[in-house]
């Protein structure tokens, strides 16, 4: 199943996921599923941390001035993180607009 970030709306890091900084980006560990996932770009880590402050992925990337060339790869990365349950949708869109 492929998750399309464009239709996902407001996102956040799952509360039971820990992110550990690493030279290449970060390691994400999901305590519920015991899944370990690699975030392989430092700015992708910034994006994941900032998701909950913005209405969706695109506005998060706008706010962080993510370069055009990185947006496609980051969209795919976030979709993968959503499939792994690391990133989830949130229902509180009204307080972030």
């Amino acid at each position: 199943m492929t998750v399309h970030t464009a239709t996902m709306g407001a996102l956040r890091l799952h509360p039971n996921v820990a992110l550990r900084p690493e030279p290449f980006g970060a390691l994400a560990y999901h305590y519920d599923t015991r899944r370990l996932v690699f975030l392989r770009h430092p700015q992708l880590v910034d994006v994941v941390h900032a998701l909950h402050e913005h209405t969706d992925l695109d506005t998060t990337m706008d706010a962080l001035d993510i370069a055009e060339t990185l947006r496609g790869p980051f969209q795919r990365a976030i979709a993968n993180l959503a499939e792994a349950g690391i990133v989830i949708t949130r229902d509180d869109e009204k307080d972030s607009s």
Binding site: A18, R20, P21, E22, P23, F24, L27, Y29, Y31, R34, L36, F38, R40
Partner: protein
């Protein structure tokens, strides 16, 4: 962009897969025990020291720790230690022979979050298992599994070291795991600890290794392997998982007395990086030990450089080479292209494991062990 494997080879800021042997005490006397366990060591970490290790792992964001031994449940403070870990965000996966998982212990374990339990068996029937793990150990392990199931623990793990005797029973082992709703985990036999003496008779034959590789290609999604069979990748399509030796890079071992080794399979002074009691504790050992810095340098393919399969198998397992007397930059003793067998024939001596907490030899001799225990 460099590959993930390249990044991992240079080491991470903290281990992903940290094994912590809590005690050398064990009520069993398995012939392949990696840590030659049996008797408790008087220098083992105190409860306070163990708690301090967990606090340090939490600060380093080590997400989980693989606890083993010896038999970790023999420590009187076992529950204190794992309670502290799991409530501070350091998940626990612990390996046990199951002797001390009775109804009460199973309930207690089932009530904890972030806890995985692995019950070790080494065969799909009592006869096969008990040859390696000792008489009665099969019944003991099955009682522990029954207790976990009765306590509604959920999905526990059944951990099997693949040997010449049980490699033909993998389907049966899967059936046993399925019957409990458990997950099967199979790992590679290493010539470490007491295994240094028994490996030559117990490790799978070349033909069995090929069968194992194909079994893993077909069934690999249903079993955990700790990525321990990457030396088989030279046979064709790579098996799922990390294809590299993680020693000192993403993996390490803390032994019961606090010594830190590059991996659980090389308890030997040559691979000792430091001790958690040293100034700076575990973090200093992980970040600045000379040994680990060396292991994070790009490796040389050595004698394997001319072999087309090197990229696939990465020369195999460092520990397997070390304890069979092979050069670390040469083929794995179980090299699927046959280079290991040739190298083994040429190896005249092998380093001895330099720790031995085995109980009196008379005991092992009395056990129903088919392999010759060529003890010093």
């Amino acid at each position: 962009m460099t590959t993930l494997a390249d990044q991992m080879k240079r080491g991470l800021d903290a281990p992903i897969c940290l094994t912590w042997e809590l005690t050398y005490a064990c009520n069993l006397d398995c012939v392949h025990c990696l840590s030659s366990s049996g008797r408790r060591d008087p220098r083992e970490l105190t409860t306070d020291e163990a708690i301090a290790v967990i606090d340090e792992l939490r600060r380093m964001q080590v997400f989980y720790v693989n606890i083993g031994g010896g038999e970790p449940m023999l420590r009187r403070d076992f529950f204190t230690i794992i309670d502290h870990a799991t409530t501070s965000g350091v998940g626990v996966k612990f390996s046990t022979n199951g002797t001390y998982i009775d109804t009460d212990a199973a309930r207690r374990l089932a009530a904890m979050d972030y806890l995985d339990v692995q019950i070790s068996i080494d065969g799909a029937d009592a006869a096969t298992n008990d040859l390696v793990r000792g008489q009665g150990s099969w019944d003991t392990a099955r009682r522990a599994m029954d207790a976990l199931a009765a306590a509604d623990f959920g999905e526990f793990k059944i951990s099997v070291v693949v040997t010449r005797e049980n490699v033909t029973q993998l389907d049966d082992l899967l059936t046993i795991a399925d019957s409990y709703g458990a997950q099967l985990r199979i790992t590679r036999l290493r010539p470490a600890g007491r295994g240094a003496d028994t490996w030559h008779q117990l490790h799978p034959t070349d033909a069995q290794q090929r069968d194992l590789y194909h079994w893993l290609l077909e069934r690999g999604d249903r079993v955990l392997t700790g990525d321990s069979f990457f030396h088989l990748n030279a046979l064709g399509d790579p098996l799922p998982g990390l294809n590299l030796c993680g020693a000192g890079r993403v993996v390490c071992l803390i032994d019961p007395v606090g010594d830190v080794y590059a991996c659980p399979f090389v308890i030997h002074d040559e691979f000792r990086a430091g001790n958690v009691r040293d100034p700076g504790g575990f973090a200093a050992v992980w970040n600045s030990s000379e040994l680990f810095a060396e292991l994070r340098e790009p490796g040389s393919a050595g004698a394997c450089a001319s072999c087309g399969a090197y990229d696939a198998c990465q020369g195999g397992c460092m520990a397997a080479k070390f304890f069979t007397g092979l050069p670390l930059d040469g083929p794995d003793p179980e090299c699927v292209s046959g280079h290991g067998a040739a190298a083994l024939a040429a190896a005249t001596t092998a380093p001895r494991p330099d720790q031995d907490h085995s109980r009196a030899r008379a005991h092992a001799a009395a056990a129903a062990v088919p392999v010759t225990l060529g003890r010093r």
